[in-house]
Symmetry: C2
Subunit: 145 residues, 2 copies
């Protein structure tokens, strides 16, 4: 299973639709679960996140100072885990203040998509699109749009 | 004026709404025009793009091998141009095959937002969000979401 733990509600309907669209597309390849937590302060958010983390899962947190990956590197990261028995990957996206150090410390990998700061709602859609893209690539399907 | 020349139609309604939302937000700060061209082949796309380019404008093309900017560097790029008399900036986003070399050659700056490949429609929203973010920063307004 691929699990996304995310902080903060989506405010705009178009973001909800974007996230739902890619969630559906991913679900055709792999079971996906999204856990949306309330945003409060970064420490309380961390406590809530930890309740949903299974330490046996491979934990990937998104962090602006994390490793900048290409689409193929991101695909490899997912593929390597899913084929090496880590059949559960948990992605964590922080709220507007980012992620507490505790979450960064328990992560197996810190990744960044950009040197730019994105709104966390839009970022959720960007991450899901990229997970979907990874599955298309893993399945040797063309995906060009 | 800030002009966006983009190739390819938006297929999903949520992308239209995303683009419209940020267009409206940017228009409160600066005149924005979006020119959407049909996607065909990369050479014909280039010809069409050139019809809409004013060579006196500062031309920024988005290109995966371009310079990876941070939000502050992107803001500075816009701010420097708008305050130094280049009151017109033209952004160019290619279609699914990217941009023809001719377009890259006439560009004043090639920028990249990520090492990842994004769908061009979603990328349009990401670019507009970042332009909006830049105006918020230039106007010393907080923007945190």
């Amino acid at each position: 299973m691929i699990k996304l733990i995310v902080v903060g509600k989506l405010k705009e309907k178009y973001l909800v639709d974007l996230v739902n669209d890619y969630s559906k597309r991913i679900n055709k390849y792999y079971k996906l679960e999204i856990i949306e937590l309330k945003d409060c302060n970064i420490h309380d958010e961390a406590k809530e996140i930890l309740k949903h983390v299974n330490s046996r899962d491979y934990i990937i947190s998104t962090y602006i100072k994390g490793e900048l990956l290409s689409t193929l590197e991101f695909t490899e990261l997912i593929n390597n885990n899913l084929t090496k028995g880590n059949s559960n990957i948990t992605f964590i996206i922080g709220g507007s203040d980012g992620l507490d150090e505790e979450i960064l410390n328990i992560s197996n990998k810190l990744i960044s998509f950009s040197n730019l700061t994105f709104p966390h709602g839009l970022f959720r859609g960007i991450l899901l699109e990229q997970i979907y893209r990874a599955f298309k690539i893993m399945n040797n399907e063309t995906y060009h749009k």
